[in-house]
């Protein structure tokens, strides 16, 4: 397949972290992101999705592997302590590598 490896970073976090996360995503050079509301449960308890302010979001960002690494590390150093948050990377294949 004429596809190119790229990294997708997924961030699940409380909605309060939205601005901080998007700022970070932009600052590592990502060209875009996708975001949606989710419910969840984790170390910081159950987070139902009925009040926007108390709920979770999932942010998915496709980037070049080095930028993904940078994003993960900055998430860890700057935001993990402050917010309920999970972040992980996965390998994907895209068609237009220049887009990311």
């Amino acid at each position: 397949m004429n596809t190119h490896p790229m990294t997708k970073v997924t961030i699940v976090c409380e909605a309060f972290a939205r601005e901080s996360v998007l700022r970070l995503v932009e600052s590592v050079g990502a060209h875009g992101y996708t975001l949606f509301a989710v419910e969840g449960s984790g170390a910081r308890g159950v987070r139902p999705a009925d009040i926007q302010e108390f709920s979770n979001i999932q942010v998915e960002v496709i980037l070049q592997p080095p930028a993904a690494e940078q994003l993960l590390h900055r998430l860890q150093s700057e935001l993990f302590a402050k917010y309920a948050m999970v972040a992980y990377a996965s390998e994907i294949q895209v068609l237009r590598p220049s887009k990311f």
Binding site: E14, F16, A49, D50, Q52, E53, K82, Y83
Partner: protein, 332 residues
């Protein structure tokens, strides 16, 4: 007077608004699958804030700004001062970390719009007249305490913070305070009510006024579920905070009633002033704290404001503040 307290207490506890709140608590406690979808919660919030703002603005137009600005300034001042009084209590009597004391102080200086709205509902049901323009005090009291709390937390608590950081945190808090959805809706709707006047009111009262009490009842069903979810954290909050979360509002309510009476509000308006002083924010303040003081422990400030003070004010507080208002007015 005791009997009277029982009378209005009973009337409040048996109002649809409070009973729906209790039903919401029950729903959570019996693990019902009842859930309000997030957009419904948001829609109800938008409605309640817009309606209360709109009516407030129309009332200001009616009363003239001349009569509103002085009590509004007093409200703003009170909102600024409460955190300064709350902080030492929380820090030294409660032995909380500086950042937690600052965050909680911000919550109690700020206000709960839902408590205010429930108070207008309570007064209407009890046949006590009030100045509808008190919504303006609600609007000016949301933000100052949040800014003060952030300042307290940043200056007294964080050592790593430089001045640039402090300034940017303050700028952020100020922006959120003024452009945040609750203040924007409240102040915006107030301006609209003021500008569109009687005619605007007539055109929209079947939406903004008539169904208001029923919609509030439904909203409190949801708030009961939300508050009850925090009941499990009560132990974690500790007994000091439980006492603080009931005693501090009562003290503030008493002071608020004194000021309301002093600046010439009616018994109803004095009650609302007391309610604003007594109520604690559980939406705007937590949001601001997560952003500006993320090191503060959300369990502490959310549990006390949402799981203790809010239900307390809704059920026992409202009648109590009404009594205080009567007492200051010498009409117990």
């Amino acid at each position: 007077m005791n009997l009277d307290l029982l009378g209005i207490l009973g009337a409040n506890l048996l109002s649809p608004a409070v009973l729906f709140f209790v039903l919401g608590c029950v729903a959570t406690l019996v693990r019902s699958d009842l859930k309000f979808p997030e957009p419904l919660y948001t829609a109800l919030t938008i409605y309640l804030l817009t309606a209360i703002g709109f009516k407030g603005g129309a009332a200001i137009a009616d009363a003239g700004i001349g009569r509103v600005w002085l009590p509004a300034a007093a409200a703003l001042l009170l909102g600024t001062l409460i955190p300064l009084w709350a902080y030492p209590i929380l820090r030294w009597a409660g032995r909380l970390r500086p950042v937690d004391a600052a965050a909680i102080a911000a919550h109690y200086g700020s206000v709960s719009a839902v408590t205010y709205i429930a108070a207008t509902n309570f007064l209407r049901q009890s046949g006590i007249a009030f100045e509808e323009y008190c919504a303006a005090f609600l609007a000016v009291m949301e933000s100052p305490a949040i800014v003060v709390g952030v300042l307290l937390g940043r200056i007294l608590a964080s050592h790593e913070t430089g001045t640039a950081d402090l300034r940017s945190a303050l700028r952020q808090s100020l922006h959120d305070a003024l452009a945040g959805r609750s203040v924007l809706l409240l102040v915006g709707a107030m301006l609209i009510g003021y500008l569109s006047g009687k005619r605007g009111m007539e055109a929209t009262s079947a939406f903004f006024v008539a169904p208001f009490q029923g919609i509030l009842a439904l909203f409190l069903l949801e708030m009961g579920m939300v508050a009850a979810r925090r009941f499990g954290d009560l132990r974690q909050a500790g007994s000091f905070l439980l006492v603080f979360a009931t005693a501090f509002p009562v003290a503030n309510g008493f002071i608020g009633a004194a000021i309301g009476w002093g600046i010439g509000l009616s018994v109803g308006g004095t009650t609302l002033f007391a309610v604003l002083a007594a109520s604690a924010s559980y939406i705007a303040a937590p949001a601001a704290m997560r952003l500006a003081l993320p090191e503060a422990n959300p369990t502490l400030y959310l549990t006390s404001s949402l799981a203790v003070t809010f239900p307390f004010n809704l059920t026992l507080g409202l009648p109590l503040y009404a009594l205080m208002a009567r007492w200051w007015h010498g009409t117990p």
